[in-house]
Symmetry: C2
Subunit: 319 residues, 2 copies
Amino acid sequence: MKCRVCSGRIVIELRQHNAAFCAEHFMAFCRRQVERAIDKFSMFEPGDRVLVAVSGGKDSLALWDILVELGYAADGLVIGLGIDDYSEQSTAFARDFADQRGLTLHYHSLQDEHGFTVPSAAEATKRVPCSSCGLSKRHIFDSVALDHGYDVVVTGHNLDDEAAVLFGNVSRWQRDYLARQHPVLPAANGFPRKAKPLVRLGEREMAAYCVLNNIDYVVDECPMAAGNKHLEYKDLLNTMEVASPGAKHAFYFGFLDRAAELFSAAVEAKSGRPDENISPCVVCGSPSTNEVCSFCKLVELASRPVPVEIDTRRDMLDG
Amino acid sequence: MKCRVCSGRIVIELRQHNAAFCAEHFMAFCRRQVERAIDKFSMFEPGDRVLVAVSGGKDSLALWDILVELGYAADGLVIGLGIDDYSEQSTAFARDFADQRGLTLHYHSLQDEHGFTVPSAAEATKRVPCSSCGLSKRHIFDSVALDHGYDVVVTGHNLDDEAAVLFGNVSRWQRDYLARQHPVLPAANGFPRKAKPLVRLGEREMAAYCVLNNIDYVVDECPMAAGNKHLEYKDLLNTMEVASPGAKHAFYFGFLDRAAELFSAAVEAKSGRPDENISPCVVCGSPSTNEVCSFCKLVELASRPVPVEIDTRRDMLDG
């Protein structure tokens, strides 16, 4: 096979597009897919200030690179999650990337600023680590975006991620989640706009993009995510994709075209306008449906010292 | 593990129900699941005349057996599809089952009555064999039910089948198919009522039911169905079920509870009342949206002799 554009030597074959590309035209292809997603879903406009949620993995670094290449004003934000070596390595990759290109990277540390890490929060809440990790990231992305006047927060969720999340939501037909699964969520109720410009590109393309652009990134999966359902759904979708190239795209974009609106309408009809119940958290001022927002509740729980007194009293009662 | 009911020696463990049963209580469990499906979806009433669409496989024979055990007036119908040895064996298993129990079994042969077989129809239509097979079966089930005054046609589709069909429909978000996927379709526009009383039981349970009841059935998959997407989806769902027992049930019944109505409403809102376009087929009198129904078109195409004259003329033109 030869490059679809210039007939040059190919570096990648994309069976789902029935195409192959040389390095130069593969990178142009990736940029075009990102631009198409931004346009089609009205994610943001040239001139908007974009905050990239950076993990140090291939997706977020490739996304940041592509946005800068496309001429967008994009800064990064990386969060120190305190997952041992994994977080240190991830942060280092993000810093190196930003330094090499002279880009602005914000850094926030859960431990330094809020007194807990993802592993310690998992222990304190007795829930899966992904739960407090996601909550913390959403809170910090939102507040940094608002504090610094960014127009939109973008994340590196790619087609594989979104199809796997959709698969999970469909496997249990969770109407509320299905109603909210969209590549762009408008700013509302004090939350900034959020967008996923990589929805037209898969994991394999993003890894190839990084390799071809000499972008170093953390390759390992997060050690806390082992056994995660999300990875199981990705495997199932990969099996489908091998049997029918394009299956992931058909599944995800078919949902957006022909089903998403049905779930949004059903949830809206049932719940009315949930915006009316949102007010500023009494601790941090972030928008919340409760007096104290979920993040501040997590901070209180996870940064609290272990209640030794209670254990002692129980020992005394038992003894 | 011991039988959940009597603590006797178990013959089967059902992880999705977190239960195990002895032979006697497993059979009672199967009957109860069928009765629950019949009640919950108002499939039919005691006293209704039921026509079981029999293939000679485990599902349809187990279903027939269970319905008779539950006291329903159920006759069978088997169709000679002309798929070589496979059809002959299937029909023989159905006949033996009916003879042993003194039950009424209707028999119709595609070749004898309509001049084609499933393989010859596939060749004539240049479509997958499952296409003309499904069309022929639906047509004959419907017309036999109406001719003999049955109240309902029941088929042996089990949970694995229905979940796999749903999976296929969801993978491409086919609204029209999703809108019609229900365990019972009411009689309408000249079509008889149809129901799937095995939707609460899986393949493994039906195979066990047959073995425990000494019901001989054709074990092989239909040789025409090799490479069928349906089997691929079943494999994927089995992988999910192993990781999360109950996943198939949650997927299928979650759809019926929380999504099916959204698709039905959307399709109805778009297409209006399609019933108005239905009139009797001018050839056979069956209800159809066209002047000649799809089955009669198939009969015309598949039973037609090969048009040798046209080939000869083309040879002359080429030569």
